[in-house]
C-alpha cells in the first residue's frame, strides 16, 4: 500500500498533485479542531478586516476569523460530501449488485424502485423536506435525504456491471465453492465495481455539495453548522460581493475549486491505476 502510493506520487504527476491537495485538506481538517473560536460564535474579532498577518484570510462581517471559519467549513463540507457519497454508494451498491446478480423478479422490483427514485425531482423534494422537517432539517438529515436521492443513477450503472459479472465463470466457481450470495457480492464482485464507485463518488460529491450550497444560498439549511454553503450564505446576506469583502466569498470558492480539482485528479489517477489499459497508455508517453 505504502509503496503503491509512493510510486504513484513519483510517477504520476496528477496523483502527486491530487495527493498533495488531499494532505492539505486533511491538514485543514485536523487544524479545524484547534480553532481558537467556537464555530458558530460571532463578533469574536473585529469585522471586515482584509487579509493580513494576523488574519490570514481576513475577517468576516460577522466578526469571525475567515481562516478558522474556512477550516471548520471545509471539515464539515468534506464530512457532508463524504457522508452523502458513502451512504448513497452503499445504497447503490446494495441495490445494483443485488439486482444485477439476482436478476428476475428481484431485479424488476429493485429497478422499479430505482427508477421511481430516479424521476423524483431533487430540488423540489429537498425544498419540501425542508418545510416538512423544519427544525429537524439539520445537517445530518440533509445527508440522509441527499443519500436517499442520489444513488439511483449509479445503482443502474453498477447493476449493468453486476449483470456481466454474474455470467463470469469465476462466479460459478464461487457458487460451487458454497459461498453465500452476500459473500460473492461483497468479496468477488465488489472489487470490480470499485472503479466506478470511485468515479461516481466525485460526481456525487460535486452534486451534493452543490445542492448544499444552493439550498444554503436560498436559506434552506441549518445556519449553525459552518459549511461552504453557509459561508456563502452569510457572505451573501452581508452583501460581501459588492461591499468589497471579497475574501469572504473567495475563500470558500477557491477552497471548493481546489477540493474538486484534487478529487478529480485523484479519481482520475486512481482509475488509471485500477484500469491497466489506461495505465499502459500513459507509460508509453
Amino acid at each position: 500500500m505504502f509503496t503503491i502510493v509512493r510510486d504513484l506520487i513519483r510517477y504520476n504527476i496528477e496523483f502527486a498533485v491530487g495527493f498533495a491537495i488531499l494532505l492539505l485538506l486533511i491538514g485543514a481538517v485536523i487544524l479545524s479542531f484547534f480553532s481558537p473560536y467556537p464555530a458558530a460564535d460571532i463578533y469574536v474579532v473585529a469585522p471586515d478586516m482584509p487579509p493580513d498577518a494576523e488574519f490570514w484570510l481576513g475577517t468576516t462581517s460577522r466578526g469571525q476569523d475567515n481562516f478558522w471559519q474556512l477550516m471548520i467549513a471545509l471539515r464539515n463540507t468534506l464530512a457532508f460530501g463524504l457522508g452523502v457519497a458513502f451512504l448513497s454508494r452503499i445504497l447503490s451498491l446494495v441495490v445494483g449488485l443485488t439486482a444485477g446478480y439476482a436478476g428476475g423478479r428481484v431485479d424488476r422490483v429493485l429497478m422499479a424502485i430505482n427508477d421511481s427514485v430516479m424521476v423524483i425531482p431533487h430540488f423540489p423534494i429537498l425544498v419540501l423536506f425542508y418545510f416538512v422537517l423544519k427544525d429537524d432539517m439539520n445537517w445530518l438529515m440533509l445527508v440522509l435525504i441527499l443519500s436517499a436521492l442520489g444513488w439511483s443513477y449509479d445503482a443502474r450503472l453498477i447493476r449493468s456491471i453486476a449483470m456481466s459479472l454474474r455470467t463470469r465463470p469465476f462466479t460459478t466457481q464461487s457458487v460451487y465453492s458454497g459461498m453465500s450470495m452476500r459473500k460473492i457480492l461483497v468479496e468477488e464482485h465488489l472489487p470490480y465495481v470499485m472503479p466506478i464507485v470511485f468515479a461516481t463518488t466525485m460526481n456525487n460529491m460535486i452534486w451534493s455539495i452543490g445542492m448544499e450550497i444552493t439550498l444554503s444560498v436560498l436559506g434552506f439549511t441549518d445556519v449553525d453548522t459552518p459549511t461552504m454553503g453557509q459561508m456563502i450564505y452569510w457572505a451573501n446576506s452581508h452583501s460581501a460581493l459588492i461591499s468589497g469583502i471579497w475574501w469572504w466569498v473567495a475563500a470558500p470558492v477557491v477552497a471548493i475549486i481546489v477540493l474538486f480539482i484534487g478529487l478529480f485528479l485523484l479519481s482520475m489517477s486512481m482509475n488509471e491505476y485500477i484500469d491497466p489499459r489506461s495505465r499502459l497508455n500513459r507509460m508509453g508517453s
Partner: protein, 334 residues
Amino acid sequence: MAAYMIFVARRFAQLLLVVFLGISATFFITHMTPVDPVTESVTAITNFGKSDPEAIELMRKTLTELYGLEGNLFEQYVTFWSRLVRGDFGPSLSAFPTPVSQIIFRALPWTVGLMISATLISFTIGNTLGALAGYYRKSRILKIISLGLIGLQPIPYYVLAFILLILFGFVWPVLPITGGYEMNADLNLSFALVLDIIRHSILPAMALVLVGAGSWLTGMRALTSNIVTEDYVTFAELGGVGSTRILRSYVVRNAMVPQLTGLAMSLGAIFNGTVITEIVFGYPGIGTLLINAVHAGDYSLVLGLASLSIIGVAIAVFLIDILSPLLDPRIKAE
C-alpha cells in the same frame, strides 16, 4: 416490429407505474408540510392591515371551505388523481381560483427554452472537448481547457452567476442583467423581440453552460479514453482510416449512447438548475414559482410542478429506453 411494439408497451406501462409512484410520493410529502395554505393566506391578508381576531377566525373557516381542504388526506388524494387524469391540477391555493396549469404554463416556456438551449450548448461543447481531450491525450491546450472547465464546474452557481453579472452588467456593461426581455416590451412576435430575448438570455445561459460543460467533458473524456483502447478502434487505425473519421464515426459514435441517456436525464430534470438562475438574473420561469408555492403551502402548485418534472424525467427516460435500441444496435429490447 411486433416485438418492438410489445417492448414499447411494456416500457410504457413501466413509465406509468414510475410516474404514479413518484407523484404519489410527492403528494404525501407535500401534504406532510406543516405549512397550512389557509394560515398562509390569512397571514398574507392580515400581515399589514388592521386585524380583528374574531374576523380572522371567520376568514380561516371560509378559506378552508373555499380551498376544498376539508376532506381527509385519502379523499384529497383520490380527488387529486381523478383531476390529474383529466390533465387538471386543480386551482392554486395561493392564487385561488386561478388554475395551477394556467400559472405553470405561463412560466414554463421560459424555463424550458433557456434550460434546453443551455443544456444542449453545454452538451455540445463539453462532449466535443471531452472527445478531443480523450483522443488527443497529449495536447496541452486541450488539457488546459479541460482543467479550466473542470475547475469552473464546482464553483457555486450562485457565485459564478453573480460574477458574470458584475462583469458583464456593471464593469463592462454590455448585457442586460435582468428579465427575459426589456421592460414594457411589445410581446407580439417580432424580430426585435426575438433579438431582445436572445440578448437577455446570454448571461444566464452562459452561466449555465460554464458550470454544465465540465461534467459532460469529464464523462466524455473518460468514455473516449476507454473506447480508444477497443479493438475496433485499433483495427481502424491499422486499416489506415483517417483520424477525424475514427474520432467521429468510431469513438464519438460509440460514446454517444451513454451520453445521450445523460442528456435525456438532464433535459428531464430542468428544474434543478433553474431557481438560482431566476433569482440572480430575474429570468422568468418556474423556479421562483416553486419556491413561492412551497413558502405559501400551496400544495396544488407544488404538486403540479413536481408532477410535471416527474413526468418530464420519466418521459425522457422512456424515450431514451425505446430509442436506445435504435441508437445502439447491440442493445436488445428485453
